[in-house]
Symmetry: C2
Subunit: 127 residues, 2 copies
């Protein structure tokens, strides 16, 4: 039974989740084509990943004809939130403010980003 989902995703797992969140329901081949159009990884490697991700409760599959179609079990928002929590707790000692300040001070944000943030802050404060 899908062990209360709370693990870290590896880079490849994130990639797989992203295309599935984006496209909805896909076969291994679809995902593979999307992620590795030049065959950087073997097809069966991705197959293995995706089947292991079912065991982890991240995906589920359904066979239609002879092809398996996979889809996310976990919501993107939820996963992002959990991952952010874990990341902040590891890298920023649990302080979201620290991370936010780091972002603002890091030069990693474009001026559009900054404007969007200001707007969001104003909206949030307006309520």
């Amino acid at each position: 039974m899908s062990k209360i989902n709370n693990q870290n995703l590896s880079e490849i797992e994130w990639g797989i989740m992203r295309v599935l969140w984006d496209k909805g329901v896909l076969s291994v081949k679809d995902v593979w084509n999307k992620l590795y159009p030049n065959g950087e990884k073997a097809y069966t490697t991705i197959q293995t990943y995706m089947d292991r991700m079912i065991e982890k409760g991240l995906l589920r599959k359904e066979k239609i004809g002879l092809v398996n179609f996979y889809q996310p079990v976990v919501q993107q928002e939820k996963m992002m939130s959990q991952a952010t929590d874990r990341f902040v707790s590891n890298a920023f000692g649990g302080s979201f403010g620290h991370l936010a300040a780091f972002l603002v001070g890091s030069g990693k944000l474009s001026s559009e980003d900054i404007n969007k943030i200001k707007k969001l802050i104003n909206e949030a404060e307006g309520e």
Copy 2:
């Protein structure tokens, strides 16, 4: 030779790094006491971690008397920056703005956090 440092840290490795960044130079025992005052992990487990972290180029050690003292090789800022890059690229498709917006919209920031961010933004724009 310290293979250009670019790996992910596990939760435990982050913990070790954090106490070392904080305190400077410590023995295994010091770190262990700090992180697991109730012996949640075996002393030798931490020893193993710290020695592996030397191979990964994260720490270095120096023997004084019969005790090894460990210290970080990589700067905290740099590590945080790299880790943030990787995290954003995995979880937010590479968009820092997305992460920042997510943070502001998530309710994870306190009002002091928000104020600090506004101040930082103003300062940044003032220059």
